[in-house]
């Protein structure tokens, strides 16, 4: 569904990531593991079109994304939930969700259905639908960010560190929901530092270190790998 072929992304002359090869098949959950600054977010920015790759090619359903602008990429079916729960803090929860359906803005009925769907996944958002997004707790903001990404009905959803700064109990809930979204037919590419939680739900993973992939394999393989255990699971 999505493949990155030999991708490098540069900020000025500095290559934030280089020589990336990533394959995501339809229906999978794929996780990118790595510490801060390893290049996970940059990879996401490249896929969503915010930073164009300096080298290599990104293919989505067989089409090259290299020359497609970020807003068109959303229309093609790649939804992004950016890192740090970026919301529109002054808008209400429901307005945030509606903004997520921007690419479907003409289809009012579909938006209603999507709203219902998001509220089913996250009932708390329904309770708070008229509250300002900025007034929500960290976990709720993350739910809203995921919900907003869902509103564009993506075929592939990019989730950048959904667990960051959340309590363990909330993290668990979050990953359950991600799994459910995946079962309902959305392919998921996930960036995480929380390898333990992520590998439990993922099909396969890539391990990033200073801008390139140093290890890849199925979740079981990575879970059993000593280095991964040492670096990310702490056991």
């Amino acid at each position: 569904m999505l493949s990155l072929k030999n991708i490098s992304v540069k900020y000025g002359s500095f290559a934030a990531v280089h020589g990336l090869n990533i394959e995501v098949k339809e229906g999978e959950i794929v996780v990118l593991l790595g510490s801060n600054g390893a290049g996970k977010s940059t990879t996401f920015r490249a896929i969503s079109g915010l930073n164009k790759p300096a080298e290599g090619e990104i293919l989505f359903e067989g089409k090259s994304l290299n020359k497609v602008s970020a807003d068109k990429i959303v229309q093609l079916g790649i939804g992004q939930c950016p890192e740090g729960r970026k919301l529109f803090p002054a808008m209400s929860v429901q307005e945030n969700l509606r903004m997520g359906a921007f690419v479907h803005r003409r289809k009012k009925d579909e938006i209603k259905k999507s709203l219902q769907h998001v509220y089913q996944l996250f009932p708390i958002l329904h309770d708070k639908k008229d509250d300002a997004a900025g007034s929500l707790s960290g976990g709720q903001q993350q739910m809203l960010a995921i919900g907003r990404a869902l509103m564009s009905k993506p075929k592939l959803m990019l989730l950048d560190e959904p667990s960051v700064g959340l309590a363990p109990l909330i993290v668990e809930q979050m990953f359950e929901v991600i799994q459910q979204i995946n079962r309902e037919g959305t392919t998921i590419l996930l960036a995480e530092q929380n390898a333990n939680a992520a590998l439990k739900i993922a099909d396969k993973g890539y391990v990033f270190e200073s801008g390139s992939i140093v290890l890849q394999g199925t979740s079981q393989e990575l879970f059993a790998n000593d280095e991964v255990r040492k670096a990310y699971i702490g056991a």
């Binding site: 969503s48 079109g49 915010l50 602008s69 970020a70 807003d71 068109k72 959303v74 229309q75 992004q80 950016p82 970026k86 529109f88 803090p89 002054a90 808008m91 307005e95 509606r98 903004m99 997520g100 921007f102 690419v103 803005r105 707790s137 960290g138 976990g139 907003r148 564009s152 309590a167 109990l169 909330i170």
Partner: protein
């Protein structure tokens, strides 16, 4: 809109309508009409700077383009006022489109500096292109708006109502834009352009649309000014005018719907009151403006809004607290 707001707006409109009847003082009516014209221009600036986050300092230039288009079309081409007004808006919009196309490639302070230069270039063109604009001599004898059937706009009072009509129209348009998906799209762009793009908003297309709308409104303000004052010189495109606009906007509240009205009225009335101080008035305005920006970055209206929100929040707080507590414990635990 709450009921209180509705009533307040109705009262304000009524006050504006009866003002020339109670006042009878031509000077006050003149000042009010001018304020309304400024307000229209400030609304143009507000849509772009306040809601979309792009501070354009070229708006005095577009104000002047609107004024000069109307002036030249009516004086030199001897067109009827109304088609000339329409055409001057089109001219402003077309120039706005091309300026936007280039300037919107820059951001933040680069955008401000770039548009400042554009504004100055517009001023220079008007000042130096003697054969077209009459240069420093200015354009004299711009006619009052032509009659519409039995309606004539020769008297000061009738002109006042005409400008008031356009102001209300602009406010209505602004209200509709801000409370529509387009308005939220612009706010999203102000919030974060990257984020706006990742939900599928074409930022360039939207920014350009706002830029053109906002220049057309500035042009409308300029055209009304030209037909009201009947004389225009290159000074109306000078940098000082755009900073006047900006002061009105900042004092009233940037990114608020009523900010342009509040700020303009307040500053215009104050500067009339403080006229005995001559240019030393600026010694008063400067520090007050600085303090205002430090403590109330969203102006008077912004301060009032956040104050009422806080008050509401404190009334409801016990309930929210009770709901929130268990979750906070979970978070800490």
């Amino acid at each position: 809109m709450s009921k209180v707001q509705r009533i307040a707006i109705l009262v304000l409109i009524l006050l504006a309508i009866i003002f020339p009847i109670i006042s009878q003082n031509d000077y006050f009516i003149h000042v009010m009409t001018l304020s309304f014209i400024w307000m229209i221009g400030v609304y143009g600036l507000n849509l772009l700077a306040g809601y979309t986050g792009y501070l354009s300092l070229a708006h005095a230039g577009f104000f002047a383009i609107g004024a000069y288009s109307l002036g030249l079309l009516t004086v030199k081409a001897e067109m009827n006022f109304w088609p000339a007004l329409l055409l001057s808006l089109v001219i402003t919009g077309v120039i706005g489109f091309f300026v936007g196309l280039i300037s919107l490639r820059t951001k933040e302070h680069f955008f401000a500096i770039y548009t400042l230069c554009v504004g100055y270039i517009i001023y220079l063109v008007i000042d130096k292109w003697d054969s077209l604009t009459e240069g420093v001599r200015g354009l004299i004898g711009i006619p009052a708006p032509a009659n519409i059937g039995p309606l004539s706009f020769e008297t000061l009072q009738s002109h006042y109502y005409l400008v008031l009509f356009f102001l209300l129209l602009v406010v209505l348009i602004m209200y509709r834009i801000v409370h529509s998906l387009s308005g939220r799209t612009y706010i999203a762009i102000r919030n974060s352009e990257d984020l706006a793009q990742t939900i599928g908003i074409s930022t360039m297309k939207n920014k350009l649309t706002v830029f053109v709308i906002s220049t057309v409104i500035a042009g409308l303000s300029g055209a009304l000014y030209a037909s009201f004052v009947r004389f225009i010189g290159p000074d109306i495109g000078s940098i000082a005018i755009v900073f006047d606009f900006l002061t009105y906007l900042l004092v009233g509240g940037i990114g608020t719907l009523s900010g342009p009205i509040v700020g303009t009225i307040l500053i215009v009335v104050l500067s009339q009151r403080l006229q005995f101080l001559q240019d030393y008035r600026m010694l008063v305005f400067g520090p007050v403006l600085t303090l205002l920006i430090i403590f109330y970055p969203r102006g008077i209206v912004g301060a009032v809004v956040s104050w009422t929100q806080k008050r509401k929040a404190s009334v409801h707080q016990p309930i929210i607290r009770a709901k929130k507590l268990p979750e906070e414990q979970v978070k800490e635990g």
